[in-house]
Amino acid sequence: MTRWILHLDMDAFFASVEQLDNPQLAGKPVIVGGLGPRGVVATASYEARTFGVHSAMPMAKARRLCPHGVFLAPRFERYQQLSARIHSLVSQYSPLVEPVSLDEVFVDLTGTERLHGPPEQVAREIHSRIPEEVGLPCSVGLAPNKLLAKLASNAAKPGGLRVIRPEEVAGFLTPLPVEALWGIGPKTARKLASRGIYTVGDLQGVEASLLVSWFGPKLGEHLWRLARGLDDSPVVPLREAKSLSQELTLPEDVYRLEEIQAHLRGLTRQVWGRLRQAGLLARVVRVKLRWSDFSTHTRQLKLPEPTDHLGLLLEAARQLLARLLATREGRGVRLLGVGLAGLTPASFRPLHLFAPEEIDQLVWGAQAKYGPGALQLGEQGPHPPESPLPKRLQPSTKGEENHTGPAPN
């Protein structure tokens, strides 16, 4: 049976969200990323791309290229909220939905025909429903596997829909440069170019044994399969993910304890949001910290029970940070990360004696209904152990503070 995999890729996602939320920005070059001295572009709108701005570019360079651009810090919780809507929309067509990042998702449509009609029709439906219902532009690729689906959506950008039927695979692949293939990096591409191989068609002409002698058995075989558009990797739903994590490279080294703690709380809230969105509980909490001298340390804790309680996760993250900071020796913090592992579907919830579920539900409910930051946990220094949850609930109309630096788009 032919597999049908759909790849949905939002166009300039962060920038498009900013344009959606602030219509005055429509049609203007919008650049989202770290605004500090070491900041990097996370996303540039198509208007900004015409000036040569692209993601991963240093922000200072982007400002030179596009001095009239609108430069904004990312609002991850808002992106996450819209990402959740996109996720739930595509989930109506298949239970097998794998989010790759906030703005990219694979959907396995194999065998959904009886319920939802032919995959091509579903792809067209998704392609038109996303802009209509979420208000954001997207590109959609539909193909017999993930590799080809991603190539298809890429070919459809911006705003298009591209279907690759099994009989079209060869014709589609042959003219592409080898770098277009998922998993061929600049190094491999250079090595291939030095042997006169530039296009996928060129690569198809190379015998498997020769590829193996050039690249070793593993990569050699992989390249042979890539060249033919062969890929049998499954679409793995998020609830089967092994861990969730959120990292933040700080625009500049941070020394103030309160500021480090505030960033940690922000990251914990983000990763908690993803945990709740995916319907999971976590048993292991990790905190990663990179010092200004680039040495990197990770500490983790295994909790007595799996949980999705923000208060308990914040408490664990705070303990781990305190332990990492014990070896601070005057250094600043360059990168912080919070990870959750030991994930299990939230089909049950162990209730805690000292951390009531109600407050957590309230925060989550408010976030889902009114957007991020509808309720903010007022937090301060160490709180007494009998209440892992901060005492104050502060209403706020603002989004999260801009504590998020550049992140991979």
């Binding site: 007595p304 919830r349 209730l351 951390a355």
Partner: protein, 379 residues
């Protein structure tokens, strides 16, 4: 210094004090057992700075000492000595010659002047508690604490000891269950109130140390950040955890009206069986009871193992229907440490804490014990 003592007495003293030997530490002296003369013979002492254990050993002593031997070496050696009555220890030139029957060992020593002097309790004791009930109190609470690997915050890894109104209350929790034991104590000054947090692992060690001691009572002294426990020839001192234990009285349910009166052994065995088919992630078992029936259905199910059902009879009908889930392990942990033939599990709602306590003819070892367990909410 020369010491002549009974082999059994030496074995006892070394075994007791070796519980306080420091493990791999940057201070080798903490791996030593100090032997020095005292009015009753010799005193053996060891400490890892968290705790210190001293034990009196009857002996004939010449000279003063002290001398510090490698604790692990001494501990291994004394348990394997030939079965003769008497042991002689003689200190000469930085070594200790141990003679027992035909066995002769010259053991290296550590620098006695580096041995940290354990604090000695002074003044009046705080109170006295029958040793057996104190040990039972530790058994029924320390298990409920959070493991040190589950937190870096120490408050919940401790057992809270609350002295008030002529009683000692021991309490321990991991956040999901809470064990409380109330013990009658003697000699607590009128109006005295004091709360001390002791690491649960150290308290377990204390119970192991005191279990073989022949003494009616344990005498407790309190002194500047330490507690001392004295029973028979043993004095055990521990540092206190300087953290705030949660207000546990607040979470004890007071008005749970649905009482399940269960035969303890049968309930325990049923849980141990039904736990097998519970899901690995939650370990949840369901309890289901109809108000008019005198039996509770205990069951579990998991996608990859199957399911199990069992009925456990109740002494009387609970009057109301209820369905609730608990982690089997948490109920088993408490039930297996109880002694009464009947227990009562008091419930109110599926998302409210249950209260487990001894019922019917309460066994002496269960007096003053209650256990609070949070349910698992199934979604």
């Amino acid at each position: 210094m020369q010491i002549v003592c009974r082999r059994e007495d030496l074995v006892f003293g070394v075994r007791i004090t070796s519980h306080a030997l420091g493990g791999k530490t940057s201070m080798p002296i903490l791996g030593g057992i100090r032997i020095q003369k005292n009015p009753h013979g010799v005193e053996l002492a060891a400490t890892d700075l968290e705790r210190a254990i001293r034990c009196q050993v009857p002996a004939q002593v010449e000279g003063e000492g002290p001398v510090v031997c490698h604790g692990q070496v001494l501990a291994q050696l004394v348990t394997r000595l030939p079965a003769v009555d008497q042991v002689t220890l003689t200190e000469t030139d930085g070594k200790v010659r141990l003679q027992c029957g035909e066995a002769v060992f010259d053991l290296l020593t550590l620098a006695a002047e580096e041995f940290p002097e354990p604090e000695t309790p002074s003044g009046d004791p705080l109170c006295e508690i029958p040793l057996a009930s104190f040990l039972q109190g530790i058994t029924q609470t320390a298990f409920a604490a959070l493991r040190a690997t589950e937190t870096t915050r120490l408050a919940l890894t401790g057992v809270d000891m609350v002295f008030r109104d002529g009683t000692l209350k021991l309490a321990a929790t991991n956040g999901y269950r809470l064990a409380i034991k109330r013990l009658a104590v003697d000699g607590l000054p009128a109006g005295y109130e004091g709360t001390f947090l002791v690491d649960a692992q150290i308290l377990n060690d204390l119970a192991r140390v005191l279990a073989p001691v022949e003494a009616a009572n344990v005498v407790i002294y309190e002194q500047e950040g330490r507690l001392h426990f004295s029973a028979g020839p043993v004095l055990f001192s521990t540092r206190l955890v300087q953290e705030q234990f949660p207000d546990f009285e607040r979470v004890v349910p007071r008005d749970n009206e649905i009482g399940l009166f269960l035969p303890r052994e049968e309930f325990l065995e049923a849980l141990r069986r039904v736990e097998i088919t519970a899901t690995e992630e939650s370990g949840a078992v369901f309890l289901k009871v109809k108000g008019a029936e005198t039996a509770v259905e205990v069951s579990s199910a998991s996608r990859d193992k199957g399911e199990g059902h069992e009925r456990v009879r109740l002494a009387k009908a609970p009057g109301q229907d209820i369905e609730i889930s608990f982690k089997a392990e948490y109920l088993i942990d408490a039930l297996k440490r109880m002694e009464s033939s009947q227990v009562a599990l008091w419930l109110s709602a599926p998302d409210r804490a249950g209260l487990l306590e001894p019922a019917g003819d309460i066994a002496p070892g269960d007096e003053g014990f209650i256990y609070v367990c949070m349910p698992i909410r199934l979604i």
